[in-house]
């Protein structure tokens, strides 16, 4: 059905009512007249007519409700009809100016796509609940020592047993020992012996999570304690798939782990990836013999997870844990310093390291979207005023202003939805790229994707965007000014209000771009600072292989095997030098020992100083390119039968031997055991690139040996080319030796800065996008200005103004707008950048270099964007422009 462009007024409620009353009146009158004609008196006739009619009130109610429903339906159809009309009109209009439409849709797609992509990360990493039942009841718990200000210390297994026994408000808790590359087990008795990534778990670990096995069953409590049948193993889903192809018959069979048979009890579900990706097996902690990790209070290796009873909050959990810890500290001398506990929600612990970075990104993309909106509002505004006559004509022909506004809003919605659809397509690609870029850097990365929540977010964003950039022109269309528009013949100068509004949009756009660029600039500066950090070693040409020596095969002579292996590797062609360390930099933190210096008195009950301890071979420092500041490094003469010696790092030397030369002095480690310091090595960063070294003691592995070894070789050429010869050398000495991983030091440095690099790349991308959009905005507005003021410019030129003066006028306008935007933006940036302090390294959030640089770049961009319209203004031909009238 063809409807008139602007619908006729609807029937009002009152009209509906009166129509029925008239019908009723007619009926009663007609009946009365007929009865009077038959001889009744008028009163009798009236009374009978009423009686015959029956319940008037009931009929009235019924008919009114029918009419109302019919009318509502009509109205709805009318609105839908208008909407369809608006849509058809909008699509036609947008297709009529493809340049505008494409610009708008592409801009929107970028804005919405970037937002949806980053939001999918926020959603997957930060918002979605952890894949455990009632995840908000889960906590991580640490021992804490108030006296030595250490808040996140692992627990010992006797402590954990006491915690479990004394718990009240805590439903359950359990511990685990896991070290990436450290807590492994050799799987033998299969075709290819291999090193498995294992987690050693205590009783309570599985029950705390409450995740049932996907196949088979989980160990009972009595299967996870010493003396029980604790040679049992639970497989991770990925290991089960990789090793056994998901064969359920493996359950009940036996695996040889570390030379001993373990019964396979069950398989965890695929979604259970705690405490890390790439876990192969879960084995009871009780199977670790005392000669590897003693089960005593002073040996703290266990990370602890706890589940609160329903309705119990974090403060209650913390109070209870701290009071238990305080009781234990009073009872056991070894626990004395650890009189408290730290409790944090599990989700916060898992996502904590990336939380601020991800939120900074979300803030940045929100700015991109705001710029997009401002840009589009400017474009639509320019469009709306060229369409002023069309709109004015429609209003003059009887369209209500609301109707016109709705039409304009429909247009912007159609734009927004097209942009949104394209944006979600783009987001799919972006998420893929993002996951590639961030491999290994984001926890829960497998939970990132465009799910329903993200799609809903994208849709909401699209609608909000459409409203935001469509509202300004729509409101302007309805708020008067129609007469002016009708008179406007397209050649005059635009109204003052329109100009001011458009100028305001440009200023806003530049300001937003400044904030974004400052964020990107700070991140880039901070990343450069990070790369300039001296880690204490020269990473190029270093290859490392990480493995654990077998005491089963080599017995007590594993030290000899270790020594011979290093000697053997040194003779390989292409190897400059070789050494070994327990944990490569950024790959582990060694051990933590207490120590004292001569003359130091530690008050009873307090903990003395501690240091990180790394077991190294002779030649390690030389191989990695560390500098010996004083004394010497370990030599092949520092053997088990020689006097024990130590090397300490610069930080320890400066802190505990201020103003002295520590070389030749003694340190007391363990039970008052004096060891001579023979050398001082320049600080080597061990935790991360952005974390300064802590006091560190290096021990010769032949004097105090450990089975975990990272063999490091300096190569002549490409270090990866040495990977095969290195493996072959190891296997030529022990064919059953499993190798956990082989990597280059360049890799570990690169991994260590991967997160800031990712942030830098993304923020820079958003910054450039913002800059480009901002430039586009200035350019668009000035171009429009020049075209609208062509006549005025023509008159000026005709009256003798020089072209260069006209050019200067336009350029000045662009620069003034840009300048105001830059000032506003810098103020905004100073107010906002303190929120990104958490992700910056060695750069102040108000770094003047960055702020100045960004201001210069933005002003340059503004000048460039103004230059082309200015040139066009200078080239206006007065004759043509005047004739255009």
């Amino acid at each position: 059905m063809k409807r008139p462009l602007f619908g006729f007024p609807w029937r009002s409620e009152r009209a509906i009512r009166e129509e029925w009353e008239e019908e009723l009146r007619f009926h009663l009158d007609a009946r009365t007249e007929d009865l009077v004609a038959d001889g009744a008196t008028p009163e009798e006739a009236r009374a009978q007519a009423l009686r015959e009619f029956g319940d008037i009130e009931d009929a009235r109610r019924y008919i009114r409700s029918l009419d109302r429903a019919a009318e509502a339906g009509r109205r709805r159809r009318n609105v839908m009809g208008e909407l369809r009309q608006d849509l058809v009109y909008a699509v036609r209009k947008l297709r009529a100016c493809p340049a505008f439409t494409v610009t708008a849709v592409v801009t929107l797609a970028l804005g919405i796509g970037a937002n949806a992509a980053i939001f999918s990360v926020v959603n997957g990493v930060l918002l979605r609940p952890l894949p455990f039942p009632r995840p908000d009841e889960l906590y991580r718990v640490w021992s804490a020592s108030r006296s030595s200000n250490r808040t996140t210390v692992p627990a010992s297994s006797p402590d954990l047993e006491d915690w479990r026994a004394d718990r009240q408000q805590i439903a359950d808790l359990g511990g685990y020992w896991y070290a990436d590359g450290g807590s492994g087990l050799d799987l033998t008795g299969v075709v290819e012996p291999q090193r498995l990534q294992g987690v050693f778990v205590t009783a309570g670990f599985f029950s705390t999570f409450g995740v049932p096995a996907a196949q088979g069953r989980l160990p009972r409590e009595d299967e996870m304690v010493r003396g029980g049948h604790d040679r049992v193993v639970v497989l991770s889903w990925s290991f089960w798939q990789r090793q056994f192809g998901g064969d359920p018959s493996v359950i009940g069979s036996s695996l040889t782990l570390g030379g001993e048979p373990f019964d396979v009890l069950g398989v965890m579900p695929a979604a259970f990836r705690y405490p890390a990706e790439g876990i192969d097996v879960y084995v009871p902690y009780s199977t670790i013999p005392d000669h590897e990790i003693p089960h005593i209070r002073s040996v703290r290796t266990l990370q602890v997870v706890a589940r609160a009873r329903p309705g119990v909050g974090p403060t209650t959990v913390e109070t209870e844990m701290s009071s238990i810890a305080a009781r234990l500290a009073a009872r056991y001398p070894e626990d004395k310093p650890y009189d408290s506990a730290t409790v944090r929600p599990l989700q916060a612990v898992i996502t904590g390291p990336v939380r601020s970075g991800v939120l900074v990104l979300l803030g940045a993309v929100a700015f991109v979207l705001l710029i997009t909106c401002v840009n589009l509002a400017g474009l639509l505004l320019a469009q709306a005023s060229t369409r002023g006559r069309e709109i004015a004509t429609r209003v003059a022909l009887g369209a209500s202003r609301a109707r016109v506004a709705r039409q304009l809003l429909t247009e912007s919605m159609v734009l927004a939805l097209s942009g949104g659809a394209a944006g979600l397509g783009l987001a799919r690609l972006l998420v893929g790229a993002l996951l590639g870029l961030s491999s290994g850097q984001l926890p829960r990365s497998r939970e990132i994707g465009l799910d329903g929540t993200v799609l809903l977010f994208g849709l909401g964003l699209t609608v909000a965007t459409g409203l935001l950039f469509g509202l300004v022109p729509a409101l302007r269309a309805v708020s008067g000014g129609m007469r002016g528009l009708l008179q406007d013949r397209g050649g005059g100068s635009p109204g003052r209000r329109t100009t001011r509004l458009r100028d305001g949009l440009v200023v806003a756009e530049v300001a937003l771009a400044v904030v974004l660029a400052v964020g990107a600039g700070l991140m880039a500066r901070s990343f450069i600072e990070l790369l300039r950090v001296d880690p204490g070693f020269r990473p190029h040409h270093l290859l490392a292989a990480n493995f654990t020596l077998s005491t089963e095969r080599h017995g007590e002579s594993y030290g000899t095997f270790y020594e011979e292996l290093i000697q053997r590797v040194r003779t390989l062609p292409g190897v400059v030098s070789a050494g070994a360390v327990k944990d490569a930099p950024f790959r582990g933190m060694g051990e933590r020992w207490g120590f004292t210096t001569p003359g130091m008195v530690v008050p009873a009950g307090e903990e003395g100083p501690t240091a990180m301890v790394l077991h190294v071979s002779d030649g390690y420092f030389h191989t990695i390119g560390a500098r010996i500041l004083d004394g010497r490094e370990f030599t092949p003469q520092d053997r088990a039968d020689a006097p024990p010696v130590l090397v300490v790092n610069e930080t320890l030397a400066k802190r505990y031997f201020p103003g002295e030369d520590p070389v030749g002095k003694k340190l007391f480690t363990g039970a008052d055991h004096p060891v001579t310091i023979v050398g001082i090595v320049a600080d080597i960063r061990q935790a991360a690139m952005d974390e300064p070294a802590t006091p560190t003691i290096y021990v010769d592995n032949l004097q105090n040996s450990r089975v975990r070894v990272t063999l490091v070789v300096r190569t002549v050429g490409n270090p990866l080319a040495m990977a095969r010869p290195l493996r072959r050398a190891i296997w030529s000495m022990d064919p059953d030796q499993t190798i956990t991983s082989v990597f280059t030091f360049d890799d570990i440095v690169s991994e260590s800065v991967a997160r800031p690099r990712l942030l830098t790349v993304l923020l820079s991308a958003f910054g450039i996008l913002g800059l480009a959009l901002g430039a586009l905005g200035i350019h668009g507005v000035l171009t429009y200005l020049v075209s609208r003021r062509q006549r005025e410019i023509g008159v000026r030129l005709a009256l003798g103004a020089r072209a260069s003066a006209v050019e200067r006028m336009v350029l000045a306008r662009g620069l003034v707008l840009g300048g105001i935007g830059v000032v506003v933006g810098l103020l905004g940036a100073i107010a906002l950048t303190r929120y990104i302090t958490g992700v910056l390294f060695a750069v102040a959030p108000t770094d003047p270099f960055t702020l100045g640089g960004v201001a210069a770049i933005l002003m340059g961009t503004a000048a460039l964007a103004s230059w082309m319209p200015a040139r066009r203004a200078g080239r206006v031909d007065p004759v043509v422009s005047l004739r255009a009238e």
Binding site: E22, H27, A30, F53, A59, I63, L66, D67
Partner: protein, 116 residues
């Protein structure tokens, strides 16, 4: 069958359906206003079916909403504005269906009552 009895004992939809069929018939072939429909029903049934005017108007409006009839204001015999109802094509179709099913129903009842 008296109306009171029908309202009290018969299911409402049967009553509505019956009334609707009568009203549709009243508008075939020429349009009538509400009072004319009322008179026509009274005359045709000879008073056997005593139908109140209120249910009649309810039926007219209900049929209008269902688009079986269309209403239009026009001048009556004695020159007053009256609301005339006219059968639509849809209404005529509906009447034919209803008529057929009523005849089948009546036949069936007759067969039962007639000892053949």
């Amino acid at each position: 069958m008296e109306e009171g009895w029908a309202v009290a004992r018969e299911p409402m939809d049967l009553m509505q359906g019956t009334l609707d069929v009568l009203v549709l018939r009243a508008l075939d072939p020429e349009p009538r206003h509400g009072y004319a429909v009322s008179r026509w029903v009274r005359d045709r049934t000879g008073g056997v079916l005593q139908i109140g005017d209120a249910p009649l108007y309810k039926a007219l409006h209900r049929l209008e909403k269902a688009a079986y009839v269309e209403a239009e204001w026009a001048l009556s015999e004695n020159n007053r504005r009256a609301r005339y109802y006219r059968l639509t094509a849809r209404g005529r179709q509906r009447f034919k269906e209803a008529e057929a099913s009523w005849r089948r129903y009546a036949e069936a009842v007759s067969k039962v009552l007639d000892p053949a």
